[in-house]
């Protein structure tokens, strides 16, 4: 144990360690916020255009459904590489933290869209019908009835999605994206520096736990309104 501790470079690499932790925070936050919003949008698209929905539209639903189904199963380690050309067009570079964040966000949109759709389905159709009976427009119902009614479960869904997002940040190294995951791989796993690796894992677990607790608290507050 003392040998293990004395061999570690954890203390020397502290600046790099915290920089990597910062990169993970940046990638995960941007992916959660952007992926959350756009994923909710896509989820709304799926929910509203399905049969019996407020904007029921078979072709549009079919297209959205197929797109989501095609992209979601692609393993992220391949997806992030395949997305490189698109990343160059959108964020101007195919490598580094920008490209990695772009890839994570796109994957998050597809993943979160399904979570959002599932949570929207739990809203009572009777409440939507009541709003229609009061003469509310479809847009008003969507924004002021549907989303608020589903907000509690949606927050829990986003919290759940955050774990998957942190998971994806660990693969950012594929496009030289940095972050704690790739730091743990490069300096920990590959150089047999297990203490360093476990330190990185500990910080990742702490991040997920903080978000989990915050998400639960927020959802409870929303549900208790």
């Amino acid at each position: 144990m003392s040998a293990l501790a004395s061999d570690t470079r954890l203390w020397d690499l502290q600046p790099e360690f915290w920089a990597a932790a910062g990169e993970t925070v940046v990638m995960a936050s941007i992916a959660l916020v952007l992926g959350g919003l756009l994923g909710l949008g896509l989820g709304l698209g799926l929910y509203l255009t399905r049969k019996g929905g407020l904007y029921a539209n078979r072709p549009v639903f079919w297209i959205l459904n197929v797109v989501v189904n095609c992209f979601r199963p692609i393993p992220f380690v391949i997806f992030i590489a395949a997305l490189q050309p698109l990343a160059r067009d959108v964020v101007g570079t195919g490598i580094g933290i920008k490209a990695a964040t772009f890839g994570i966000t796109v994957a998050a949109i597809f993943g979160i869209s399904r979570i959002a759709e599932q949570n929207l389905v739990t809203v009572s159709p009777g409440v939507i019908e009541a709003a229609r009976a009061m003469g509310a427009s479809r847009a008003r119902i969507t924004l002021t009835v549907l989303v608020p009614e589903a907000l509690g479960p949606l927050v829990l869904g986003f919290t759940f999605a955050f774990v998957a997002i942190v998971d994806m940040t660990a693969i950012a190294g594929v496009v030289a994206g940095g972050g704690l995951g790739s730091f743990a791989q490069r300096f920990g796993f590959r150089q047999f520096d297990y203490l360093l690796m476990w330190a990185a894992i500990l910080v990742l677990v702490a991040m997920v736990m903080v978000i989990q607790v915050a998400g639960n608290l927020l959802a409870r507050r929303i549900l208790r309104r």
Binding site: S124, G126, V127, E129, A130, A131, R132, A133, M134, G135, A136, S137, R140, T144, V145, P148, E149, L151, I222, R224, R225
Partner: protein, 346 residues
């Protein structure tokens, strides 16, 4: 002649596509003609699947008709655009079996919603919501969470919400079906008050005959998408014609004793069982009883009772008559033209 009806349905048909390809369409409403007059409480009663809940959704066009016309206040709603429909719906309140309140909002927030939709200013909303809460007796619950309310309180909020924009018509879709008997009574009383004090016409969908008896003026009975009988509530209660109507009436009125009851009565009573139907207020029960006494027929009340519908009472009394057959026949002959009677068993 100008129609005075607030709602008029003519040959209305509503079909839903069959489940699966090539399956025949389901006809939920099958050629219904109906008139709801201004200021009345019109009930539509039927068993589940009779088409009554579909029918009520055709009135505010939540569902489009397949054919026929639905005229509300002189306007054929089947021809309206989505925008025009939204305006129409602001003038028609609707309440539901499951209340359908927004749990993400407080009581206040739920009442504010229809007012915001109608473009009412915040200051006006404030005033109107206080009025509504007082009217339904929930002034102390303004800021309560919907999930903390009892079923009866939720339906009161539902009613207040439906009244927010001063509608001419209130559609009540099984509004008391999820409530216990006491709460049902309170909510029915509140609906009667809405009709009486605010002059709002109510179209009441129900499967409970007691609700019809308590507050409706006229009733239509639906079965398999069709109206099989309709008329003033007292007429339907005292002289139900269609078998479905009879079954509904028998849920609240002991009309003729059912066979098992007759068999049980036979164990303890001799003689002939005759049911007398007192409908006309001018006929006194004593007249009938006098006829039996005249012919030396003794009688005992074994089944039935006096019912009350909107201030009118009527009786269905089954008597066990003992005496000679000739005497009983003579007594019954005296009743002809005075009280309708039916021999139940002999």
């Amino acid at each position: 002649m100008v129609s005075t009806a607030l709602v008029e349905l003519r040959e209305v048909v509503k079909e839903f596509p069959g489940a699966g390809r090539g399956k025949p369409a389901q006809r939920a409403v099958d050629g219904v003609d109906l008139r709801v007059e201004r200021g009345e409480i019109f009930a539509i009663i039927g068993y589940s699947g009779a088409g009554k809940s579909t029918l009520v959704r055709l009135v505010n066009a939540l569902e489009p008709v397949t054919s026929g016309s639905v005229v509300v206040d002189g306007v054929d709603v089947t021809t309206l655009s989505e925008r025009a429909l939204r305006e129409l719906r602001q003038g028609i309140g609707m309440i539901f079996q499951q209340f359908n309140l927004m749990e993400s909002r407080t009581v206040w927030g739920n009442l504010a919603f229809p007012l915001t939709v109608a473009g009412v200013s915040k200051a006006e909303q404030q005033k109107r919501i206080s009025e509504l809460l007082h009217f339904v007796g929930l002034a102390d619950k303004a800021h309560a969470r919907v999930t903390d309310l009892s079923g009866g309180q939720k339906q009161r909020v539902g009613i207040a919400r439906a009244l927010a924009t001063n509608p001419r018509l209130l559609l009540a879709d099984e509004a008391t079906s999820a409530l216990d008997p006491d709460t049902t009574r309170d909510v029915l009383d509140l609906l009667a008050k809405v009709n009486r004090e605010l002059g709002i016409t109510i179209l009441l969908i129900t499967h409970e005959m007691d609700a019809v008896r308590r507050i409706a003026h006229r009733v239509a009975v639906m079965e398999s998408g069709k109206v099989v009988e309709s008329g003033p509530v007292l007429d339907v209660f005292t002289a139900p014609e269609h078998p479905v109507t009879r079954r509904f009436v028998s849920t609240v009125v002991d009309d003729l004793p059912p066979e098992d009851v007759v068999a049980a009565l036979r164990e303890t009573h001799d003689g002939r069982f005759v049911r007398l139907a007192f409908r006309d207020r001018s006929v006194r029960q004593s007249e009938a009883f006098a006829a039996f006494l005249r012919h030396d027929v003794s009688f005992e009340l074994v089944y039935g009772g006096i019912e009350e519908v909107q201030g009118n009472s009527f009786g269905n009394l089954t008597l066990a008559l003992t005496g000679t057959d000739a005497a009983i026949d003579a007594a019954l002959a005296d009743l002809d033209g005075v009280v309708p009677w039916t021999e139940v068993a002999r």
